[in-house]
Symmetry: none
Subunit: 412 residues, 2 copies
C-alpha cells in the first residue's frame, strides 16, 4: 500500500506552522503497514491542488490530503475535489444533524457557513468528525483512493484512528508488520545504547530490528518484526529481559504513560497523593490528574512559588529557608512532609529548583532541582541537573519526579 501525503496551507509553506500532521501520519501509517512514498505541501490555491492531484504517480494506492476544509473563504479543498472528480456537492443529512448537534450542545449559534460544511461530494464515503464540523471524505478514483481530512490535528487524528484505518484495513492486505514499543525515562539515548549493547545485538542477530525514538527525558525503544504476530512471544521475551537490565528506566509499553502506570499502582494499594510545587508551578499536579478517574487518588496541591507561601501554606520553617536556600534538600523534604499532613494524603511529592533562564549560581546553576517524596514511613529525596531551557526544565522535573515515585516508592 503506497501512500502520498498532501498538506494544504500557506501557513505551512511560509513556515508559520511546522507540519506535524505529516510526521504523525507518516508514523501512524508506517506502523499500520503502509509505505509513504512522498509528502507534498502546497498553497491553498485551486491551481496548486489540481496540478498536484494530476501529477500523482500510478504506483500510489492512496492519497491523503489534509487541510482546507474549514468554513471560511480560504478553505477550498472540498470545492476543488468536487470539481476535479466530477462529484457535485449535495447536502449530507447525517453530517448536517451532527453539525446542528455540535452547536446545540455548546449553546452556540449555527451559521450558514457551518451548514454549508454538510454539503459534501455526491458518492464519496463520509468519514465522520466527532470533534468538529469538517467531515473527512473518501473518494474512489479508479484504483486510487483520495482521502481528504481536516487540518486541525486532533480532529484529523481521531478520524484517522477511528474511521480511516479500519476502512483501509478492509481494503488493503498490509503485511502484518508487528511491533512493540517500550517506554523509558531518565536515561540518555547514547548511554542507554551502551547499557543495552549485548541485548540489542542478540535481538538483531535473531532477525528483529530495534529503533530508538528519543524525546526530552524519554527514549522509546521499538522492536519491529516483518514476520508479523509470529514474533510476538520472542519480542515479549526480549522486553522481559530488558526490564531486568534497566528497571529504573523502563516504565511501560505501548499506550502506557508514567501517570497511567502510577495510577494503577496507587489504586491497587489504595493510596492517595498530592503535591507541593515551586519550580513546576502546578504542572506535576496537572499531570497526575491527566487521566479519567484521577479523583480516586489525587486530592490536591499547594503551589508555593513565593517563599512567603512556602512558609504560610506549606508550613516550611523560615530558618530552614534562610539557612539552606529555597532550592535545597531541606526545603524540599519539609515541603513534602508538611504538605502530606496539610493535604491529608498518603504520599506527597515536592519540587523546588531553578527553572531559569536566570536565577542560577555557581553552586546551584539554572536547571538544578530537588525532588522529595514523603510517605508515612520515610522521605526520599534526589537532586537533578537539567539544562537551560525553562519549559524543558519544568517538564523534565515532572517526568523525573513521576519516575522516581514509580520506581523508588511504588515498585521497590
Amino acid at each position: 500500500m503506497n501512500v502520498e501525503l498532501i498538506s494544504i496551507g500557506d501557513e505551512l509553506l511560509i513556515g508559520q506552522t511546522i507540519n506535524t500532521n505529516a510526521a504523525w501520519l507518516g508514523q501512524t501509517l508506517t506502523l499500520f503497514g503502509a509505505r509513504i512514498i512522498k509528502t507534498t505541501t502546497i498553497s491553498d490555491q485551486e491551481e496548486a491542488i489540481i496540478s498536484t492531484l494530476s501529477a500523482i504517480s500510478k504506483k500510489i494506492d492512496c492519497v491523503i490530503i489534509t487541510g482546507g476544509l474549514g468554513p471560511t473563504n480560504d478553505d477550498i479543498t472540498k470545492h476543488t475535489l468536487s470539481a476535479h472528480y466530477g462529484l457535485p456537492l449535495i447536502m449530507h443529512q447525517e453530517t448536517l444533524r451532527h453539525i446542528e448537534n455540535y452547536f446545540g450542545k455548546r449553546n452556540r449559534p449555527m451559521l450558514e457557513s457551518n451548514r454549508q460544511q454538510a454539503m459534501l461530494p455526491d458518492g464519496c464515503v463520509i468519514l465522520p468528525n466527532k470533534n468538529g464540523t469538517a467531515a473527512g471524505m473518501w473518494i474512489n478514483d479508479g484504483n486510487q483512493i483520495i482521502i481528504s481530512l481536516p487540518g486541525v490535528p486532533y480532529e484529523m487524528k481521531s478520524i484517522v484512528q477511528e474511521e480511516l484505518l479500519p476502512l483501509l484495513s478492509q481494503r488493503f492486505k498490509v503485511s502484518a508488520h508487528y511491533h512493540k514499543t517500550a517506554h523509558t525515562q531518565g536515561i540518555g539515548e547514547s548511554f542507554l545504547a551502551e547499557k543495552i549493547v549485548d541485548w540489542e545485538q542478540a535481538l538483531q542477530s535473531n532477525g528483529l530490528h530495534l529503533s530508538y525514538l528519543p524525546s526530552p527525558g524519554f527514549v522509546k525503544l521499538r522492536i519491529n518484526s516483518f514476520a508479523g504476530e509470529r514474533d510476538k512471544e520472542k519480542i515479549d521475551g526480549y522486553f522481559k529481559e530488558l526490564e531486568g537490565i534497566i528497571p529504573e528506566a523502563l516504565y511501560g509499553y505501548e499506550q502506557d504513560t508514567l501517570v497511567s502506570v502510577i495510577a494503577i499502582k496507587l489504586l491497587s494499594k489504595n493510596l492517595t497523593i498530592g503535591t507541593v510545587e515551586s519550580c513546576t508551578s502546578g504542572l506535576l499536579a496537572h499531570e497526575l490528574c491527566g487521566i479519567p478517574g484521577s479523583s480516586a487518588y489525587f486530592k490536591g496541591a499547594l503551589v508555593t512559588y513565593s517563599n512567603e507561601l512556602k512558609k504560610k501554606l506549606a508550613n516550611v520553617d523560615e530558618k530552614t529557608i534562610v539557612k539552606n536556600g529555597a532550592v535545597s534538600r531541606e526545603v524540599a523534604c519539609s515541603m513534602a512532609e508538611e504538605g502530606r499532613k496539610i493535604l491529608g494524603v498518603d504520599i506527597c511529592i515536592a519540587t523546588t529548583g531553578i527553572s531559569g533562564p536566570s536565577g542560577g549560581s555557581d553552586e546551584k546553576p539554572v536547571g538544578f532541582v530537588w525532588v522529595a517524596i514523603a510517605t508515612k514511613d520515610k522521605t526520599l529525596e534526589r537532586s537533578f541537573q537539567f539544562g537551560d531551557n525553562r519549559t524543558r526544565n519544568q517538564q523534565m522535573t515532572v517526568s523525573s519526579a513521576l519516575n522516581f515515585l514509580r520506581f523508588e516508592v511504588l515498585t521497590k
Copy 2:
C-alpha cells in the same frame, strides 16, 4: 522568485523526524522575499530524487534540496545530482583542506569516506560549510538554480544565511513579501468570519490577503501582502480597526501569548495573582508561570480537587457546596474570593468544572465549567460549555480564563 523545497530522508517520511528544516527555510525565504510554491519530501532513493527533479515546474526559479550529503552509504544526493546534470565529481581542493582541518582540530581520525566528501560536481558553485564536512552546492540549469544543502539543521542554516542569501540577492530582485499575524481567543472560526466579513472584504479589495489559522480555542488571522514593507502601515491600520470590532477576542500580535500580554499588564499595574483550581488541577498556575520573571506577579495556587480540600484549603463553606454543587457559580466565587485572601494576592482566578469523560448530568454536562475572578473591588464570573475531551476541556478552560482576565479585568 519562486522556490520549491525538496527534503530528502526516510526518517521524515516515516515521521521519526519532524521536518523543521522546511518550516525554517519557508520562514527565512519568505522574509527574504521569495515565494515558496511547494515543499516535497521524498525517500533517499535515486529514482525518487530524479523523478522529483524532472517534474519541477518551469515557473520555479530556485530549487533547494536538503539532506543526503553525509558520508555514509545511504547519502546519495551528490552522486544523483552529478549524474542527472552531467557534472562529473572532481576533488575540490579547498573543501578537502577544510575537511582535513575539521578533523585535525577535533583530534579525530579522518576516514576515506570523509575525504570523498570533497569530491564535488565540476562547475558547480561551492557553498562552504564551516560547521561540518558536507559542502553546499549551487548548480545552474538553464534559468533554474538547483541548491543542495546538508540536512543537519545548524549546518544548513548557517550556509543559508552566510553563503546562499547573499548570492541569491545578487541574482534576484525580490520584493520583500510582508505579513503580520493577530491572535484571537474564544471565537469560533466561522462566527469570527461572519463578524468581520465587511472588514475582510475591504482589505481584500485593497489587494491584501487574509488567512484564518484555527487551533482549539484560538484563531490566528494573518494578513499577507506581496507588495512588501510598503503595505506595513496599511496592514497596521486594518488591525487597529479589527481591535475595535473584536476587542474581547483579539489579544496580541506575532510572538505575543495570552500570558505574555497578561504579564505586561500585571507588571505595569503592579498587581499580584494566584489561582484556586479544581478542574484545571494546576494547569492555570503553570501557564501563568510559563515566562521568565513570573515570580514578580505570580505568588502561588491551591489545587482543590477534592471537596474536602475545597473546604479545608480554600475555606469554601460546606453548605455552599451541598446547596449548589461543587461545579457552581457560588463555589467558583467563593474559591476566588477566599483564595485571594489566603494567597495574599490582588487577583485570584478560580476554576471548577466537569472535565469528563464521565461525571456529567443533564443540567451540568461534561465540559461545563465555571470561572470566577476576584479582585479587591469585585468578583466576576462566567460559565462555559466545552466539548467532551478531558484534556481539551482543561486547556480550553485555561485559555478562556486567561482571556476573561485579560479583557474584563485588565483591559476594560
